[in-house]
Amino acid sequence: MVDWSRQITLDDVVVGAEIPEISMPITLQRLVMEAGSNRDLSLIHHNREVAQSTGGADAYMNTFFIIGLFERMLREWMGTGGRLKKIGSLQMKSFNVVGDVVYCRGKVTGKQDDGTVNLDIRMENEERVTVTALAVVSLPLHMTA
C-alpha cells in the first residue's frame, strides 16, 4: 500500500540509489484487461498462435503496458508532487510473455539544482533485462508547509 501523503524532495535523492521496485505476474487475463484499457488490440498481445509466429513464446506485453508500469513505479517513488518529463531511449531487448513475473526497477543517475532527476529504468524477468530506458522527472526542491 503506497502512502500518498509522503512526498520526497530533491534533498532526499541520492545519486546511485535504486528506487523501490514494483512487480507483476503476467497472465493472459492481465494482457486482455490491459489491451481493453489501453486500446492496443494487436493480436500479438493476446493471441498465443499469432505471438508465436513472430518469435514470442506466448502472447506478450504491449508497449503501452510496459510504459504504463514504468509510470506507476516512478509515480509511487516521486509522489504526487513530482512531474514526469521524459521517458526515452526505450528499447525492447526481449519479449515479456504470459507466465513471466516482471519487475520494474530504476536507479538514480543524476540530479540538478532545478529539481530535475535522471534515472536509468528497466524491466526484468527472473532471467534477464527485457526493456531499458532513461527517465527524467522533476521533484519539489523543498517541502512546503
Binding site: 503506497v2 500518498w4 507483476m24 492481465r30 484487461m33 490491459e34 481493453g36 484499457s37 489501453n38 486500446r39 492496443d40 488490440l41 494487436s42 493480436l43 508497449t63 503501452f64 503496458f65 510504459i67 504504463g68 508500469l69 514504468f70 509510470e71 506507476r72 509515480r75 509511487e76 504526487t80 508532487g81 512531474r83 514526469l84 518529463k85 521524459k86 521517458i87 526515452g88 531511449s89 526505450l90 528499447q91 525492447m92
Partner: protein, 186 residues
C-alpha cells in the same frame, strides 16, 4: 517485385522517400479524457495514485483537477477501431491492428517490422473532458541491412495536442521495416 504477405503498405524506396518530412496521418482520439477510462487503465496496472482519481488530491498536488496518467496519451490519441459509417466486419476479414502510420500507410519494399526505440516527452497534463489529436510525420529514413533482412529505420514523430492546440506530448518512434532474405521475389 513482391513479397510474402505481411504488414504494411508495399511500395518502392522512391515512394517511401516522397513521404519524408510530410504528415502521414492525423488521428482524432475516439474518447475524451474521462474518469471511467482512467480507472480501467489504472486497474490493470494495480495503480492507485489519487491525482488521477480524486479532484481534491489533484488540486492539492498543483493540478487544475483530476489529471490522466501521462502515458494515457497513447490511448486518448487512438482513433476508433469502428465508428458509425464504417462497414461491418465480414467473416474471415483481416483483424484490425493498432494504426501506426509509418508501418501501415507509408509504402516501402518491406513486409515485416519491429519497433527499435521510443522517446516520449511530456509537456502538459490531460484533464477530464480534453480531446486529443495525434499528428504523425515521417522525419527520417535510414537504409540498413541487418541480420533479419534489408530495410530501413523509419522515424515517426507523433505530436499530441489537445482541443486548445496545446502540445501535450511528443513521441518519436523508430520502426525498422524490412523484408527477410527468403521473402524476396523477383
Amino acid at each position: 517485385m513482391g513479397a510474402k504477405p505481411g504488414w504494411g503498405k508495399w511500395g518502392t524506396w522512391e515512394e517511401t522517400e516522397s513521404y519524408l518530412g510530410k504528415v502521414i496521418g492525423v488521428a482524432e482520439g475516439a474518447d475524451a479524457v474521462e474518469q471511467g477510462t482512467i480507472r480501467r487503465w489504472m486497474e490493470s496496472k494495480e495503480f492507485d495514485c489519487p491525482i488521477h482519481l480524486d479532484d481534491a488530491a489533484a488540486r492539492a498536488a498543483g493540478y487544475k483537477g483530476v489529471t490522466a496518467p501521462d502515458n494515457m496519451i497513447f490511448t486518448y490519441g487512438l482513433p476508433a477501431y469502428w465508428q458509425s459509417g464504417d462497414p461491418h466486419e465480414q467473416p474471415g476479414a483481416e483483424p484490425r491492428q493498432i494504426p501506426i502510420p509509418v508501418i501501415f500507410d507509408v509504402p516501402a519494399p518491406c513486409n515485416l517490422s519491429f519497433a527499435s526505440n521510443i522517446d516520449i516527452e511530456y509537456f502538459a497534463p490531460m484533464y477530464l473532458g480534453d480531446r486529443i489529436t495525434r499528428t504523425s510525420r515521417l522525419v527520417s529514413i535510414k537504409r540498413k541491412t541487418l541480420r533479419v533482412g534489408d530495410g530501413a529505420f523509419l522515424r515517426q514523430e507523433d505530436t499530441y495536442t489537445n482541443q486548445h492546440d496545446e502540445v501535450v506530448a511528443i513521441v518519436n518512434l523508430d520502426i525498422f521495416r524490412f523484408v527477410a532474405p527468403d521473402d524476396k521475389e523477383d
